[in-house]
Symmetry: C2
Subunit: 484 residues, 2 copies
């Protein structure tokens, strides 16, 4: 018997099964919950195991945005036109390079039905379009742009529509339960009503195989090693690998030194268990990288690289700005703004930003920022001259956010700021949720969903695509696992 931790255990070596069921789902976040509901509804006996002491995973910590479109009731109530085709065209552009076209097609075609399914699980949505720059809309608003749909370059290429559907949460308070918690509470209730059984505090360590077929899991529960048998299939839905520095170093070293949007259980264990039985992985370097500044400040300011030059339209999705800053600029960026911007932030309910340096003199700021003489002055001169005319010929920021900036200038030095990251790479799955091996053939008995897989946000990220593809392809994986 192989003595390494992740290698599969042959079923012949299991003397005692602590439990037996049709389908085992590993992880009780949005993907696992959705998988468990659909597997149970398809007639399977389902056991969910989660390493944590309760349900929710990273999903329950999230802002509860779900990327849906094609003309949902929420979109219609907000007067928004959308089609599955426009949604597909946008996501194909925004999630690349290397979009998963087969998954995208199914996801966009099925989006209206998926909205109804979520509503059927009791997930509350509300209309009300929020268009101010932010990570999360205030209570009472149900729809927002979450991927730069209405900004350059996408707005010029595809008819823009907001598709971030926000789960409604009446008494949301900072630091308390989030809309993601609300989503999860309804999915978990639905799973329990569907007869799904759950074991918390149960960390899955290995898969059990009978020949090539996955037939169960080995887990540790309250200090005891147990084996759990799955007659039909195992669904891995236990999150990404952002909490595993060794995997980060091996696949995406730029992510080290940031902070994880997720839980300690996002340790890549499920991905590794899949790999250990021959499942393939995709896009392991990809990650969401939340830009470490208030989007309301970012949209109105000049975002500068280490040389004092702009590099992206500041008014696109701040996760897109974050990916550009992390992967292309190595996080070495500044924000340049002025008092008028700070006043506007306060007037619109935000907080004034606290600058690292303030000066009337751009040359002085150049010295403090250690950038070449004249570059900052040139950047500001060009920005102001064009902003005066409502234009941004370099990066095409919308006229709504363009205004010449005036002294005294403030600079926010973000060169040491950590980004909020989570990983997007993972197991290669079919649109039906089957884990695929190196040749693209299903690994018998093994299914996966959510951030354990490479899904809709294959490289480029839009808020809501993780809860979106987690729930959508979680359902697919649950149905596939339940099928005999």
């Amino acid at each position: 018997m192989n003595t390494t931790r992740t290698a599969p255990v042959p079923a012949s070596q299991v003397r005692d099964w602590a439990a037996e069921t049709d389908v085992i789902v590993v992880g009780f976040g949005c993907a696992g919950a959705s998988a468990s509901i659909e597997a149970a509804r398809a007639g399977a006996e389902v056991l969910v195991v989660d390493a944590a002491g309760g349900w929710g995973g990273a999903s329950a910590m999230s802002g509860g945005e779900i990327y849906l479109g094609g003309g949902t009731p929420v979109q219609k109530a907000c007067g928004i036109q959308d089609t599955p085709e426009a949604m597909y065209d946008f996501l194909k552009l925004a999630t690349g390079p290397g979009p998963h076209e087969d998954k995208l097609a199914l996801y966009c075609e099925g989006s209206l039905e998926h909205f109804d399914w979520l509503v059927g699980c009791g997930v509350p949505f509300k209309s009300g379009l929020w268009t101010e720059p932010c990570w999360e809309a205030p209570t009472g608003y149900g729809l927002m742009y979450t991927g730069g749909e209405n900004a350059h370059p996408f707005a010029d290429l595809v008819p823009p529509a907001p598709r971030g559907h926000i789960v409604h949460m009446e008494d949301k308070r900072p630091g308390e339960r989030s809309a993601g918690w609300m989503l999860m509470s309804h999915l978990v209730s639905t799973a329990e009503r569907s007869g799904v059984m759950v074991r918390y505090g149960t960390r899955t360590e290995r898969l059990v195989v009978d020949g090539d077929r996955v037939v169960g899991v080995g887990a540790v529960t309250f200090g005891e090693r147990v084996f759990l048998r799955a007659r039909r299939g195992v669904v891995l839905a236990a999150g990404g690998f952002g909490a595993n520095p060794v995997m980060l170093a091996q696949h995406s070293p730029r992510l080290l030194g940031n902070w994880l949007v997720g839980t300690d259980h996002d340790d890549g264990g499920a991905i590794r268990m899949g790999q250990a039985v021959g499942a393939a992985v995709r896009h392991m370097e990809a990650a969401q990288a939340a830009f470490p500044a208030d989007p309301a400040l970012l949209f109105r300011s000049l975002l500068l690289d280490v040389h004092g030059r702009r590099f992206i339209n500041e008014d696109t999705y701040p996760g897109r700005v974050g990916q550009a800053a992390l992967f292309q600029q190595n996080r070495k960026v500044f924000i340049l703004y002025d008092e008028a911007i700070n006043e506007e932030l306060q007037r619109t309910g935000g907080r004034a930003a606290d600058p690292t340096w303030v000066s009337d003199d751009l040359a002085e700021l150049e010295r403090r920022m250690r950038i070449a003489p004249g570059v900052l002055a040139g950047t500001v001169e060009m920005y102001n001259a064009n902003a005066e005319k409502g234009e941004d010929p370099l990066f095409h920021k919308s006229a709504r956010w363009l205004r010449p900036i005036t002294p005294p200038y403030g600079v926010l030095d973000l060169r040491d700021a950590a980004f909020g990251i989570f990983t997007l790479g993972g197991l290669h799955t079919s649109p039906q949720g089957e884990a695929l091996d190196i040749d693209g053939a299903p690994v018998p008995g093994l299914f996966a969903a959510g951030r354990t897989t490479s899904g809709i946000p294959s490289w480029g990220y839009c808020s809501g695509t993780s809860l979106g593809d987690g729930t959508f392809f979680g359902r697919c994986a649950g149905r596939s696992a339940a099928a005999r």
Copy 2:
């Protein structure tokens, strides 16, 4: 029995072994040849199999540069000071993010011994330092800078030393046998003299396993499926995956649409066979990306992004420029130069570059290049004003290459140019050449080297690190495989 192509075959299902030996080496490029020599010298019976009709692989097509240092006889003959520590410090910076420090340490400590080993195999080196910008030095020169050691930022951080040792090739002619061929001819002769057996036209498709242990390979030779038994170990040294568009799409989609520096056999088969028995992979997005212009032109010109702005010192290693242009600029770049540069190219034995557009008027060029008015003029104004003083405050190009450019200006539009690429990601191996599984434990009986693995150039590339780590860690893998 699993019916997919790459999955391992249980030894119990092999009825007939077509051959039996101690060590099987898959691939007869520089890594496989070095592995075979060391395995044979350690007393093992060795069989090399190669899918091609003859030896050499991508190594024999290469320029024959080997990254060696720490004070080699060639460096000393050229009056170059170097230490293993300086070599380590440079490579740690240049091959990141995510350098493999354990491999780097062994590689730098062992470089002098490795030079002697190569010489002992009959590989000819010559002194003579070449310092003109180029991909390959002319015949008669034996040493060159191949990683930007003498350019910003490295020259400011580590004492620079040239470490690209060029295998000597007396009668090199364009399009004919390369110095890489010369390297391979000596390694192959040495292998044959050491008693290594070879089968050409033999494509390895799968590994054969006895429990967890790799005990042979399944291959196709002249239309016939055969199994070859390895009593001690199998060494995978069959190149990268640049010829496999499916793997490129899954791991590094920006590489699609370029041209492969390598052979059709660089199809990732060896990496996939390793994965199929549970071996881990690292840095699968990484790739060398040769910039598609004459380095002699590049060093003297202004390299511009799609917005008309410089983004790197043009005088660093052109593979480093290529990685920046491919991964950060999405290949959308221009070169701006003038007649004096063209005259200098011709005077130094090169060819004049043929511009896409020529004009005395930067505003006209801005329109043709579809960049924002004033940006190109600003770029040239700043470059020229500082070049006059021998300075480049933005990117620190060396004064040797700085000169104001003057009208008429030429622009080379490279936005549709394909880059010469090869992949750098691959199997995770120990410094001893053992293939490691998901938990970092050796896969019994399996070894790997060369571009089938993630090695010295883990992300950033320097010319010569592929022949360098292929031969160095090929030797390690051969010795490990031969050990009982």
